[in-house]
Symmetry: C2
Subunit: 282 residues, 2 copies
Amino acid sequence: MRIRLDIAYDGTHFRGWARQPGLRTVQETLEAALGRVLGGEPRLVVAGRTDAGVHATGQVAHVDLDDAQRERVRAGRARGGQGEDAVSALATRLTGVVGAYSDVVVTRTLEAPAGFDARFSAVWRRYAYRIADAVAGYDPLERHRTTTVRARLDAEVMDAAARSLIGLHDFAAYCKPREEATTIRTLLEFDWHRDEQGVLVANVKADAFCHSMVRALVGACVAVGEGRLGRDDIVEIRDSRERVPEVKVLAARGLTLTEVGYPADDLLEQRAEQTRARRALP
Amino acid sequence: MRIRLDIAYDGTHFRGWARQPGLRTVQETLEAALGRVLGGEPRLVVAGRTDAGVHATGQVAHVDLDDAQRERVRAGRARGGQGEDAVSALATRLTGVVGAYSDVVVTRTLEAPAGFDARFSAVWRRYAYRIADAVAGYDPLERHRTTTVRARLDAEVMDAAARSLIGLHDFAAYCKPREEATTIRTLLEFDWHRDEQGVLVANVKADAFCHSMVRALVGACVAVGEGRLGRDDIVEIRDSRERVPEVKVLAARGLTLTEVGYPADDLLEQRAEQTRARRALP
């Protein structure tokens, strides 16, 4: 039995998603909570391994249960709310374990459809990046998830620049290199708007992201918005496949994983096989 | 010379506005910052003395400057941004002192018009109160400014109940009593809506508020939204002028002072005199 978990967290006080000895991470916190509810040593597989300080409102993970754990899920039904099935009630029970006003929450649990793999079945990830510039002003109540830039940024120019990067390309110029890992990605959406408070919000969607890619892409747009780079420069930088000092990797604080996309249920297994095969290539 | 300061803060790590020996408060933090920039011992007069844990996006205060401090404001002009006058530049200099990503910020400074008194000239205060119930779900990124209620609340019934309390009344049933202080207030606006995320947001506006009044008023509405009290009950409770255990004073965490209203400049002094006279009555 495989359970899908939808997860939200404030990344400020986590050292990222992935387990690291002696450090507080989202994975470690949730696996400990699952262990308390279900016993054993549950292991989570996640769609997006976020870095230290990065937030999530729409993270997705899965966990496989053995027979004993499955029995403990069923036994929890009685404790769930009215009309809740045993698997849905698991989210409520996990909330009880992590406590009120926790910085991480499981917003939903459901039995995963056949072939579902939180990581390998995913067809796209969506992030938001928030910047308060001199136009927006500084709001202390949003400081944990908004990066401050002193300049007055040109949102229209940034939006046009962002859209010019869309498509299937080698994004090596906007990635921290990792050995044997491809930097070819399909950037599906990339645009900027100001929200009601004037905060600049980037919407960034791709099939997958290489390391620090979103934070470098938004850094390139800020350079354009400040007039330090021209709109065409950031396409040329991309096509040079070389990292340049003008493109700063912006702080984790402004970044939130908002959504993970999966195909229709009957395509889940096929998608997972394709992804695994592609990642296995040298 | 009197300066008006517009102020925003995340109240989570403050023990409220007002100075208290040995405790971190907003007043103490800002007066220390003003002292570093201007010298002397500047003292702030504030529109709304918020309790521990209460936030503000639209707090207003004033400070009176002596000749030496006035000279230091003028001397700061050179350090201000392009086109900034010396008084406006003071806000920028204070931001430099409190530091990047501080939980308090002076969003604006300007020379106060004649007769302006941040406290006594104010004609109304507006607060917002945010509640995440079972419909909204829990968002860790908003936890510092949102109160969680487990039940599923009826927003329409709460809105109707809130509106039924509007008007000039004795709100003793919804105030923590203080000796010699009147509890007669004019509640100008009180309504509820769900925002885009489903969070219940109360808008509460009055000429002034007695102690813990907003948190008791929203507590009464939650009792109605849960079905523990009827809509008419909360008017009856108000008119009884007696506090009742069914009305819980909700947590400070959900409360934000969003706006303070002042009359047109030529009425500022008259309003301040009226308010002082009224408050001085036994």
